[in-house]
Amino acid sequence: MLENTIEATEIKNGAELLKTVEGLKNDGYRYATMICLKANDGHDFIYIFDKDYKLKNLRYFVKPGEKPKSVSGIYLCALLIENEYQDLFGLTFEGLAIDFKGHLYLTPNSPKAPLA
């Protein structure tokens, strides 16, 4: 059992994620970053938002094979981090504002999806 886990709201599916993120933007939250973890063959995403130095976290489990939704339509600044995870974890995000197609950092020669 892990101690000191960070507080996070669980999100069930992609549509709910987009709705919640939209709501957070309207509440005046700032997009800080997003963390991708490997978990149970799938990926655990932790979205981190910030308002008045208080963090708000969303946890969203992406099932194996599922294409996660991109939030770059809502927060443009999310595009870099989502492109990064396309590179490092071999994921494919749906609806990216600028899609580097998995070649943001890596070239065809470098190791594929090194963190996966």
Partner: protein, 156 residues
């Protein structure tokens, strides 16, 4: 003696953490003033004599490095500054790091340290000067490094 009095350097940052880069730039600033030896930081490889490389090589910048090396007219000298450029340093077994600069292009002198002091870099430039001189007398040409897609040496 014609080369040793006017070495123009081109600074190439490959995979460096900025530590060595700012020390290379610091060499040109008033306290160290490399221009006393005629050193100029020239932006274009076609006018450079000494190539100062900081940082290790990764899969994306390997072609940039080869390109710049091939564009420098002979005689030329490559100076690897810092632990990363010499051997890969602390990052030598990262997945995206090929290794030191000498895996890709021939290196003539190395400067140790993480990060090297500006004095050490000046020492390196002075060492590079004598190599440059002997290269120009012996008419030694730098060998052309082939560019073929993104290929990397097999031993990397």
């Amino acid at each position: 003696m014609s080369l040793a009095k006017s070495p123009w350097i081109i600074h190439v940052n490959c995979n460096s953490c900025n530590g060595c880069d700012i020390e290379v730039v610091a060499c040109l600033t008033p306290l160290y003033d490399a221009e006393r030896f005629g050193v100029l930081n020239i932006g274009t490889p076609k006018q450079a004599d000494i190539m100062v490389v900081t940082g290790s090589i990764n899969y994306k910048n390997v072609n940039v490095l080869k390109n710049i090396y091939n564009q420098i007219p002979d005689p030329k000298v490559v100076l690897a500054v810092g632990a990363c450029a010499s051997t890969g340093g602390i990052f030598h077994d990262c997945y995206n790091v090929i290794g030191g600069v000498d895996q890709i292009i021939p290196v003539d002198a190395y400067v140790p340290g993480c990060c090297p002091r500006p004095e050490a870099i000046l020492d390196g430039v002075v060492a590079a000067l004598s190599i440059l001189e002997s290269k120009s007398q012996g008419k030694i040409k730098g060998k052309e490094v082939k560019l073929k897609g993104n290929e990397v040496p097999s031993n990397a």
